[in-house]
Symmetry: none
């Protein structure tokens, strides 16, 4: 699925990139504070360091900013994951590592993740699929990791279970961000990682044997 194009009046690609970077940075910081709807285009322009007129040289409508922001956040998460995870060996250790790193990335970018999850619903019917697609790619990443483990005989999971498990990991990672008001009072990130990993891997039934 190709990226949705956000049209700019300005032709210089380099400049477009630079200005959009400013824009995204400014917008994220505003969306964090007040959400997409309560943020005005003027505020976005100001936070981006240029005038309202200039803002509209780089986007068509306010919603484009939101799309750009969501797009960027995903790329950011993705990039960090790839850098961190890199090769995966299909061992329990490397599985644990992957989860730990995912959770760390979420922790690093928790404001951004929050923004995305709270505002993505405001995307137009046109843009939403592109963002959801990115989400599926993230989930697919976890599926692949799990599959490798299964192939190695480390885990025993059906196809269906792999899919669901991948979703669970994805969501329980985000949970660290969107339920931080509760969780981050109870655990440090390290504790959270350890506990979740345990819970996920161990099962909670007493082993009778």
């Amino acid at each position: 699925m190709k990226k949705r194009e956000v049209l700019a009046s300005v032709k210089d690609e380099r400049l477009v990139k630079k200005r959009r970077n400013q824009m995204i940075k400014g917008a994220i910081s505003l969306f964090k504070q007040k959400g997409f709807h309560r943020t005005t285009t003027r505020e976005i322009a100001k936070a981006s360091g240029f005038s309202i007129g200039t803002l509209y040289e780089y986007i068509r409508q306010k919603e484009d900013v939101l799309y750009l922001v969501c797009d960027r956040i995903y790329d950011e998460v993705h990039e960090r994951m790839e850098k961190d995870i890199g090769t995966h060996h299909g061992t329990i250790e490397s599985f644990k590592l992957a989860i730990a790193r995912y959770f760390k990335v979420i922790d690093d970018l928790q404001d951004e993740v929050l923004v995305m999850y709270q505002e993505a619903k405001s995307l137009s019917k046109e843009s939403l699929p592109y963002v959801l697609n990115k989400e599926m790619q993230m989930v697919a990443m976890f599926e692949k990791i799990l599959q490798t483990c299964v192939n190695n005989g480390v885990f025993q999971l059906t196809e269906q279970e792999i899919q669901l498990f991948a979703h669970n990991i994805f969501v329980l990672g985000q949970m660290w961000a969107f339920r931080r008001w509760a969780l981050q009072k109870m655990y440090t990130l390290e504790e959270y990682i350890e506990l979740q990993t345990d819970l996920l891997l161990r099962g909670i039934m007493e082993k009778r044997s």
Copy 2:
């Protein structure tokens, strides 16, 4: 924590209740479609079956509607859970039953749950705690169930693990609603319940015994 009071000009308590019921019903159906921000007070009034003037006899500001809606949805979930769960015996079977019923309730009320999770962030700093508190109560319910199981020796979980596990259950239930675009294409509710229950209980490591 006491309910936050939403002041009404009208004195007749009976009437206030009736009108607010109309209001909540109308508002939920609108929020489902277009979200809180894109819904106007006029639309709410119309969907409620009375005039904009009357609407403001029963609330102070638009945000009050959102609070009332969130409040109501929680009550609804709570009520259904209680009716369903009732007594809990601390056995694996009754634990499974509790989860199944929670997931069913989420499935029944998925639009409402969605509304709450997507819009709660728009609550004022004043109202938010009341809603979060309700959420904690739900989590606490799962904690209690888990605790009973632990007390019965059915599960082996530390205090910390119980808390986290309760959160997980809570979130994985909601996940059925807010990721329905993906999950409900893959599983029926029954499959989802069974798979999740399995995953939660079994652990996924091969048992090397």
Copy 3:
């Protein structure tokens, strides 16, 4: 052809009529001075004696004001013509009278006529036909008068000639308004009426006989 409906949020028909009267009056005076495009909705509201919010209770878009104005002007011209002309006897005298009265109406309403002719083109593709239709009705009125005269044997004109002649009368009347910068320096209204009537009726060829 039915009138195009301009939707109002306000239900009270009486009030709608009253407010629209204020609006039309205010708008005409502004359009006279600066044209439709250079007049802002705020100015229209102010000139109408109410707030911008109230203005939009009675129209949907700025263009609606223009439509309402054009519509009204035509009705005004029409009404005055009917009152004046009433019965037409098909004699030269009554033909002359009709022309004289039409020209007088144009003179009375010359600002309005000017507005209509200069701004009608800004009407949307949706509204324009309704206004053009009214224009055709005016022309048809002249056709009827001419036809009566022809039937009475007073004039000798083919069907085609009647149509064209009616258009000519219509346009030469308006000319008094939209070329007033030239004509009204040269003639009084009375002179204009007399000269035009003469020219129209007499033909300008020397009578060789």
Copy 4:
């Protein structure tokens, strides 16, 4: 009356002429479609084949474009008339010919004529007189023709009648353009010319003799 000067920053007269030609051509085609107000300077620049910055090297404000366009259209009409009419002999035949040719020119340039008549009102108080002056010159041309005929004893018209008649011819010619939505459905250009000429010359009263 001298042409109003439109100042250009560029000094090279040759270039100024060339660029303005491009500009006028581009602008006319845009004004035809959407009118002066709805056309942006960016669009004009683009249609002219150069950048917005360059556009402003050749004009001071947007309105200058309109003035240039109106000016050019008049010149065009004038030029074609002169070429066509050339010498006028003061006979009925040559009078008829003059009218026929004027109407043909209008037909050829009807879009342009329309633009001018609909947009001239948007000219500033400064520019308007120059355009109106050109209009008077056109009317004067008809006056001269009529005068010659009168001098030759072909027509019997007073000074006043000549002036008015000239205006009528001028306006009935334009009418072919600005009422084309009605007239051009009813007549071909040839029919229109013949009918109008007849009506103008013959008079419509039955000849009693």
